[in-house]
């Protein structure tokens, strides 16, 4: 591997609304598997991605109980990526925009997620090899 990279992702979409969130997670997954240090600045609806109170549910239309359904919860995706980063020698620093959190009442995030401000995005981007914005459309 060439030198260790640091990448910043600024994401904006809420969970369950857009394939863009899944795409962002897939890119982050590749980066952390390569041992890169990855920063995520979650802005607007994206602060709901690591919300700790997300709950799986059964699905009568699919004919499956909750356990069989294994409903994807983005908070589990965030947790898996934080764990994968540590396993692969990097780190995932997930920063939730604090004001966006307050507006939405989603302060209870999973472990490993911290509260921040737009100034954090600026600092993270300055310290990164590159920054990718995946905004809402």
């Amino acid at each position: 591997m060439a030198g260790k990279k640091t990448l910043t992702f600024a994401i904006m979409d809420p969970p369950y609304e857009s394939g863009r969130s899944t795409t962002a997670f897939r890119l982050i997954d590749i980066a952390v598997k390569r041992g890169y240090d990855v920063n995520v600045f979650a802005y607007e609806g994206a602060v709901c991605l690591p919300f700790a109170k997300q709950q799986a549910h059964p699905n009568a239309v699919h004919g499956r109980e909750a356990e069989e359904e294994n409903h994807p919860l983005p908070k589990d995706w965030v947790a898996a990526l934080i764990k994968s980063a540590a396993t692969n020698g990097g780190k995932l620093d997930w920063v939730n925009c604090g004001l966006c959190v307050d507006e939405r009442g989603v302060a209870e995030a999973i472990e490993g997620v911290r509260r921040g401000t737009p100034a954090d995005l600026w600092k993270l981007a300055e310290g990164s090899d590159n920054t990718l914005v995946i905004g809402t459309r």
Binding site: R26, I28, P72, L81
Partner: protein, 126 residues
């Protein structure tokens, strides 16, 4: 009351939801006694493609065990007596041939959509 569900916004969160939410909603309302049909238009015509495979999503050690199976959802609607139409030109513009689609979906030319709407009390455009 008879409703035509027009589905245009496609593949929006389907991996997270394990389905298309409007197709799901239609199935659920049909199960509750609703009288609904579906018109796929725009990118949503792809929902009728056979043999879609959205499996394999993983992040770290998290793996999706139940991916969306939208073609099966469409088949499920047909099996419950829901008519599923698609805009013919929207399919052909995307290189989709009728033989690529699940059996039972019905093509409707773009110029006849207005006439189709007239057969319903409501048209709900998603």
């Amino acid at each position: 009351m008879k409703v035509l569900q027009i589905v245009e916004s496609a593949y929006r969160g389907t991996l997270e939801e394990q389905d298309d939410t409007i197709i799901w909603l239609t199935q659920a309302m049909k199960g509750a006694g609703g009288d609904l049909d579906v018109l796929l238009r725009g990118n949503a015509v792809s929902y009728a493609l056979k043999d879609q495979d959205a499996s394999g999503l993983s992040f770290g050690d998290w793996k999706q065990t139940e991916p969306p199976r939208i073609d099966e959802q469409v088949n499920g609607l047909l099996g419950k007596g829901v008519k599923v139409y698609y805009v013919d030109e929207d399919a052909s513009e995307r290189g989709i041939d009728k033989s690529d689609l699940v059996k039972g979906v019905q093509a409707i030319p773009r110029g006849q959509v207005a006439e189709l709407l007239g057969a319903y009390d409501h048209a709900w455009h998603w």
